[in-house]
Amino acid sequence: MMRIVVSIIFIVIFAASLDAGGKKTMDPRGKETMDPCLESMKTASLPDLPYPYDALEPAISEEIMRLHHQKHHQAYVTQYNKALGNLRSAMAAGDHSSVVKLQSVIKFNGGGHVNHAIFWKNLAPVHEGGGKPPHDPLSSAIDAHFGSLEGLIQKMNAEGAAVQGSGWVWFGLDKELKRLVVETTANQDPLVTKGSLLVPLIGIDVWEHAYYPQYKNARAEYLKNIWSVINWKYAEDIFDKHTRDLDID
């Protein structure tokens, strides 16, 4: 239980740090909240896509990118901010019961925001390096852990296809065990809910909204095709950043 609360607090802080846009708000009585820490809590905002909506065609259609970004991700941001507002009020009022009750809606929507903010960066148009395989040191690390890049991709696709219901498949770095992992999470649970020292390198959304208009029920085909627009540069940057101090082969 503590672990879930810690993870959720982590998610809240991480999500708030993703974007600028702090707003001073009044509490329901029209008074400014007393605690400066609460007052300065920043709300989330929808990040821009780093490329045009049609840039990932034919792997991911423009229609999907528009819906996914402007409707689904935007809804997570909106609902998350609403929940943060409710959390702020509950905390200010010392309403601990409500604070705890709000955790699931914060996890759903904050997780949705966190995950999608990473996802847009995990993708790139082909002419900007999408699909181009990684190089060292990440490349060698992948070979060491999965045999080859193909081995990693196959594992991701198998696990992604096997997710029942909604969720994500992740390629991550386990900083505690100093190794690369493939994990899945349910719904909008971020990777950190599977281990607080897991760092996401690549996440693939396997909610049906991520592929349905184009691929319908053929999730396996979506998974096969998405690799042509996966942005390995992002994964390399994150990997480099986190392994600088680790002894990882």
Binding site: L67, K71, H72, A75, S104, F108, Q164, G165, S166, G167, A186, N187, Q188, W207, E208, H209, Y212, P213, K216, N217
Partner: protein, 212 residues
């Protein structure tokens, strides 16, 4: 009309009780083609493969569902078995020219247990809209009372000790082709235009008889 006890077939993909285009414009033929023709079919086919050579082979859907739920720590066959059951139940929950307010005993019971049809509508709507991720919303019957329940993924009220009477599928595949992200519009359309209250009444009679 199928009561819960009748959905025990030997894993047959039963066609819906209406033509695939009969629910237009509220639920498109294209949706039915994929939802029934691909998704539901896959649950049935995969279940057959999955239970072959195991002690579950030849058992009814009800049996498999109850024996693989495992208090929420689901055993492998649960997903396919429950989804096969849920989808057959879903098709039979709908009819062309359906929806709106029921009458007679069913209306009286809704008014008894929810104060009014409108309150039931609101509650059912809210359950369907707030089931996060994939799942279902239900009208169910237990202890001589009607209630609204929402469940994640493949879970259904059978494993929660109630009799399902009505369901709406809120997995995204159920509404994405027709409504995209607009799940609330899909729910309203279902409530206003698709619900088969005849099916619900028949199931309620069966549930009362079964509870003794």
């Amino acid at each position: 009309m199928a009561a819960s006890a009748a959905v025990t077939a030997n894993y047959v993909l039963k066609p819906p009780p209406f033509a695939l285009d009969a629910l237009e414009p509220h639920m498109s033929r294209q949706t039915l083609e994929f939802h029934w023709g691909k998704h539901h079919r896959a649950y049935v086919d995969n279940l057959k493969k999955q239970v072959l050579g195991t002690e579950l082979e030849g058992k009814t859907l009800d049996h498999i569902i109850h024996n693989t739920y495992n208090n929420g720590d689901l055993l492998p066959a649960f997903n396919n078995a429950a989804q096969a059951w849920n989808h057959e139940f879903f098709w039979e929950s709908m009819k062309p020219g359906g929806g709106g307010k029921p009458s007679g005993e069913l209306l009286a019971l809704l008014e008894r247990d929810f104060t009014s049809y409108e309150k039931f509508y609101e509650e059912f709507n809210a359950a369907a809209a707030t089931q996060f991720g994939a799942g279902w919303a239900w009208l169910a019957y237990a202890n001589d009372k009607l209630k609204v329940v929402k469940t994640p993924n493949a879970v259904n009220p059978l494993v929660l000790g109630s009799f399902p009477l009505l369901t709406i599928d809120v997995w995204e595949h159920a509404y994405y082709l027709d409504f995209q992200n607009r799940r609330p519009d899909y729910i309203k359309t279902f409530m206003n235009n698709l619900v088969s209250w005849e099916a619900v009444s028949a199931r309620l009679e069966a549930a009362k008889a079964a509870s003794g």
